[in-house]
Every structure is written in C-alpha cells, then in structure tokens.
Symmetry: C2
Subunit: 422 residues, 2 copies
C-alpha cells in the first residue's frame, strides 16, 4: 500500500542538486541601488589611489632640505607663497625657503617633498608678506601620502560574487562605477500545497492552520539574495494543481512547493512531477527534519518539493535551494559556512540519521558556543525565530552532552564576506 522510498545521504543529495545547478545572469544597476547585491564584475582600480601625492594633514608644504639647519634654537623661515584647500590645485612651484599652506587631502605642490602640521609651525607677517617658521628637521617624503600607495592602477580589489557592503560601495564610488554590473536576482516561485492552509488574514478554523511556510520561504529567498514570486496555494486536487505548476514554470527560474511530497493519500507532487516530465533526482533524504524533501529537474529548471512541515521546509531550503541561488549569484563557495563550536545545551535524542538542529551562536572568551534555539521537534515553528545556525549531528550518534564539540552551519553569511573577496 505504501510506496517504499530509498533515502540517500544528505551530501549525495546536495551533490545531485548541484550537478544540475543553473547559471546566473547579469544586470546593470545604479550604484545607489546596489546595496546587498552581488558583483558580476570584479572591482578593478581604474587609477592609482591616491591619484596624486597628497597631504594627510593641514599644514605647510616645502622642501625638507631647507630644514637641515633647523633646531629649537634656530628656527628656519619660509615665505608662504600660496594657500590651497583640498580639491584646489597648486599653481606655483616651491623653491628654496618657500612654503605653500595646504589642507588635508590637497595635492602636494611641485618642488615640495614634505608637509609640516600647523601645530609645529609659527606664522608671522613681515612687510605685508606671510611667513612661517619651523624649529625641526623634516625628512624627504615626511607626511606625504604617495600616489598609488594605497592602490595601484589595475589592481583587482574585490572579486565577482562578493556582496556589495558599505566598503565595497565606497570602492565602487572611488573608481567611478556610477553603474554596477551585478548578478540578476534569481526568481523563485513559491507555491504552498494543502487544503489545511488558511490565508494569513483568515480567521482560524477547526483542523486548519495558517500558511506560514510561504512567508518563511519568501524571507529565506530574500536572505539568500533571490526574488520571490508567490504563486498562491494549491488545493489537494490534481488537475488544477498540475495546471498551476505548469504555468508557474513559465515565470520562474526555480520552483519551490511546500507540502504534498509525502506518500500520503493527498500528496500530489509525485504524480505532478511525472506528468510534467520532470526527472526526480531523489524523494527521500537520510536526514531529520526534511526526509521527504524531493528535487526534480525539468530542462534547466529545478523543482524543489519541500516538506509542509515548517522546520523541515526551512532546513530543506538552506541545504538545497540556497547553494543553487548563491551559484546563480556568482559565488564560488555557495555553501553555508561550517564552523566548530562547543555545545551548551544537552541534546539527549538519538540520531538515526544526520540531524540539523535549529541553533544559535554565542561567544565566550574567544570560544564559539552553540545553543539550541528551542524544542527540537520538526513541527515547532517558534524556535526558528531564534535560529542563526544549524547544528549538524551525524547519523548513528546517540545524544550529546553539554561541552561536546559540534559542527554548525551559519545561516548569515555577511560575516564570512572576506572569503568572497580577493
């Protein structure tokens, strides 16, 4: 009576999905609208930084050799021949015992090879002419930020696939990237299945629950850098469900359905995959939660049949959908960052299969600690609110004591940005 499915190991399942990864595409956006997008072109220095020798301070620029005899007892005087602010260009050339008053960021005048801060200079007037004097010896290049000392021309500064954060945006602005070529956001369709689902605005009814998975998945898609297209709920009825899904596939890169993938009498997805001519890569994974996760391929589209169970749905997305999206966003390491941590809470349950436990991280004296985000039943939605990582407990283990070393997948990748950069 019941179809028997053969579970495959989770690594093998991820591998099979990634074998059918989809290539991303590019689009051009204004720099103003580029936050949190991913680069489709490397940021390359289009000129040296700084692009001219400049002053780090407000002060006077002059020839260091003119201070060779300067000392506390023997101030050396300079005629102040010009006065320039940042952005102004010196018009005069410095000769012996001449100085130009210069502001932070301004270009060093020709002939000068050092800058003395205001604080160590004394200014005075004689016969209507401005002078300044200094009692210290200056070295060549002292207080001069040399052209190209930060960045040389042509240098690759940030690589394709990196997230555009405030620092990357500053770099793009520096090099005149008024428009930026970024990865197009993959469009992911979301369909919820199940007659038990009420819309969020509906009053609760006996035997029914509100559709939370569609909202959660939409939010996971946004977090992963994609764009969601919510295509509504399916009734547990074959023909209309098939039509809805077939039509959805015209509008999206990837389709996620939640629910309908078990072997229950009302679970329609297996038959829909068949009628669509989609190849089912697997329909059972040796993991908890999310064992009924199903992935199918149709042409260059992927169809993810996630469990209707909120936590299983959540985990299924992060393990299988997220790496596909990150690949489409040009990341060369699309997987969740895996770190080691010390388990704080007891986890007494046995793990016949690889288990992904909703967790969050804290830090204590340089050590990473892993906490359970809540009760770990696959049907508990409230703990997902606190989840920032998934603890990976290998199959065949029998429960974990506080203090044990565990592995953890981090769900927020902003902290691992460095690895995407050059």
């Amino acid at each position: 009576m019941v179809e028997v499915r053969k579970p495959i190991p989770v690594e093998e399942a991820v591998h099979q999905v990634m074998n059918h990864r989809i290539e991303g595409s590019e689009e051009v956006v204004l720099l103003h609208h580029s936050d949190n997008r991913r680069l489709a072109e490397s940021v390359v220095a289009k000129h040296p930084v700084p692009s001219f020798d400049k002053s780090p301070y407000d002060g006077f620029a002059f020839r260091s050799e003119d201070t060779i005899d300067a000392s506390l007892d023997n101030p050396v005087s300079f005629e102040v021949i010009e006065h320039i602010g940042a952005g102004q260009v010196p018009t005069k050339v410095i000769h012996k015992n001449q100085a130009i008053r210069i502001m932070t960021g301004a270009q060093i005048p020709e002939g000068a090879d050092c800058v003395a801060m205001f604080e160590i200079c004394r200014t005075f007037k004689e016969n209507g002419i401005d002078f300044m004097s200094i009692k210290r010896k200056m070295r060549p290049d002292q207080n001069i930020i040399k052209e190209g000392s930060e960045v040389t021309n042509g240098e690759t500064l940030v690589k394709v696939g990196a997230l555009i954060n405030p620092g990357v945006k500053a770099l793009l602005a520096t090099f005149g990237y008024h428009k930026v070529t970024v990865a197009k956001k993959p469009v992911v369709g979301v369909i919820a299945t199940g007659t038990e689902l009420l819309d969020v605005e509906e009053e609760l009814q006996p035997g029914k629950i509100r559709n939370s998975n569609a909202y959660m998945i939409a939010s996971q898609i946004i977090r992963a850098g994609g764009e969601y297209n919510y295509l509504g709920k399916l009734a547990d009825e074959f023909d209309s469900s098939y039509q809805t899904i077939k039509k959805a596939l015209d509008e999206v890169d990837i389709l996620i359905t939640t629910g309908g993938v078990s072997v229950g009498d009302f679970d329609l997805m297996p038959a829909i995959y068949e009628k669509l001519g989609a190849d089912v890569l697997f329909n059972k994974v040796a993991m908890r939660p999310g064992s009924v996760t199903t992935v199918a391929v149709r042409g260059n589209q992927l169809l993810f049949g996630l469990s209707g169970n909120p936590s299983a749905c959540y985990v299924g997305f992060e393990l299988f959908v997220r790496p596909i999206l990150h690949h489409m966003l040009f990341s060369d390491n699309p997987y969740l960052k895996r770190i080691k941590a010390t388990l704080v809470d007891p986890f007494p349950k046995p793990n016949p299969f690889t288990r992904f436990v909703r967790s969050y991280v804290s830090y204590e004296n340089k050590e990473v600690l892993a906490h359970l985000a809540g009760m770990d039943k696959s049907n508990v939605v409230s703990s997902l609110a606190h989840t920032t990582g998934l603890m990976v407990l290998p199959g065949g283990t029998r429960g974990f004591e506080p203090g044990t070393d565990v592995e953890l997948l981090l769900l927020n990748e902003a902290d691992t940005q460095r690895e995407f950069n050059s």
Copy 2:
C-alpha cells in the same frame, strides 16, 4: 592661530550622544513587506499551537485501550469508518474497535487517543467494509501532538526590537499578523563637504577625488536599518552651505555631514553649528581614526559631523550613529556586539589613543580569530570592503603580536539576533 580642542574619551563621547537619543516611531506594513524590519510590537501567540490535537504522521487514529490484547500472534482489527486529510475535520466519533484513516497534520477525531503509522498497520476489506489490523499495544497520547504543546495562548514569542527574519516572519504568519507594526525607518540626511569631491560619474581631475563617503554612509545607514536621503555636496562656501544644511534639517531625523570638521581654513562646519544654534557636544574624541568627529544637538535632532576621511567616517558612523538608529528601531541593546578573539596578524603601531582597526573574523577549531582587513592607515578605503568587525586596541598600548587576545566589535548583527528575542 589654530583652535585647540580637548579630546574626550570615546566611551564618554558615546555616552553623551546617547543622552540625546531620539525616540523612534511606528508604522504598519504588510507582512509581505516586513523582511529585515524591526518589530514595534511583540509577537504574541493569539491561540495555542497546535490549536487542536493533531497527527504527526499518516496513519490510523483509534482508542489505545482497544490494543490491550494486541501482540505479534494476536492482531486486533478495527473498522475504518472515515478517511480525513489535513485540513479536513473528522465528522465521526470513534467507538470501540473503530479507526479513522488520518493524514499528517490532521485533527485527531473525538474518541481517539493515539495514532499508528501506516507502516505498522495492515489494511484489508471484508464484505465491502474497510478494516485495518495492528499487532502492537499503543499507549494513550502516542503519536499525538497535543493542543498547545508548542506554544500556549498569550505567550510572548519574540520581543519588540527584534529583526524580522524568516523564522519571525513564519511566526507572524502563524498568528495571523497580516499587517505588522514595525519601527519606522529613521531618515538620515547625508551631505558631503569639500570642493575636492567629484561626483561618481565625473572624470578624475587633478587634485580631486570622487565622493565615496556619501555612498558608503548611505550603505551603512541601510545596514543599520535606516533610510538615507542624499542631499548633495556642499561647496566650501559658508552662506550656501548654511542654507543647504538648514533646509535639510526640515526633512530628516538625523543629519550626517562628512568632512569640514577639522580646524583647517576651509572647514566650515563649526561656524555652521554655531549659526544654527546647535549645541556642540564634542568636537574631538581620543580615538583613531575619527578624532575630529563632532556631534551637535539642535532641538530633538542630532547632527553628526564625521571626518571626510573614509575610514574615520566609517568608524564614526558605527560608533556614534548606529546606536542612535538602533535605539530608534526599539532595540534594547543598540550597541555593537563586543567579543574576544585571538589576533592573527601583527599590529606593530603604538596606540596613543583607543584605536579601531578594520578587521574580519574567521573561526578555527571553536576559536574566534581576528585578522586585519588591510593596511591600517586612516585613508585607506580598500580595506573597508573586507571589514566585518572593528578591533578595539586600548589607548596607551604599544603594538600587538600575533596570538594576543583582542576585543572586536561585530558589524553584522544578524548573528546576535537571539539577544533581542524573548
């Protein structure tokens, strides 16, 4: 000639700014548009979860007491009187030796107190009537998810100020929050000062640089949860600058200017604060970079005069502006998360003042490691692209060897979400 400013300690500066913190306001958005917003109302369970006793499996529901004599040699038979899917409500009451075929998530029928999975039941027909038999004893409540076992009615699940992540969004959907009351995004005006600044689309010119700070700050505002209003560049000219800033203050909650706060001849901000009647809280902080950071108060508005130097500007925003924004977003812990880490790279420079070093984090065998994001000169913009934390080196220290314990402020707060929740 040069105004002498008295630097105040950075903690004291932050404290003074927070003494003038601004209260945030609320707005209502559709749940669909609530991602990454912050809650202005706690998420409270409006009903128990589950709201009815339900089945975790596809199987049969019946009275456990009817299996008291069941064993491998003595299967007990039940008449299958109904067949319900998730979302369907049982219409019949279970009596002795009756069972109802039930799908995952469906409501437990009246009279039943356990569910047996399909896998341990045998089904058969006799005289056109459906039967199933079972060879095991079942316990009362076995395989029943009890009403309220996940969440009890009225329970506070997520607190005001929390970021709406995928799990929080799922909770909001579960409890019918079709619309959500969130913190209104603080509006932050951004004005860049300096005649040396070119627009991003302009060709490079001698002595000039492109305006990268405005883009960077806009991106930091977005990351902190605010909304930016870019009000353009000021020329280094008093009257028009004063008018622009005065007008800007009609449109924003907070005004950030970059540059113009030194004591250089072209630095207009001090005089503009005076003419505006704004109280300057401080104009020098004992820190590097960002010592010239100036903060002024005018009525219930804050004016942040950040350095024109990119890294100083970046650090000034994160230390002084971000906590104000997070307070306005109802966070009860608006400061950057501070953790300990092991320094990986040498940092030989002496630190006469507290220094904030652009860094990023990695993890090695449960240990948090701090790396330098690049050359640490306050004028180096490229390292900001890789920065995910600021290493805090106390003033009066003389350089740090690899392996030293350091403190680090984390810039991406998604990972510390747990602390904002209940």
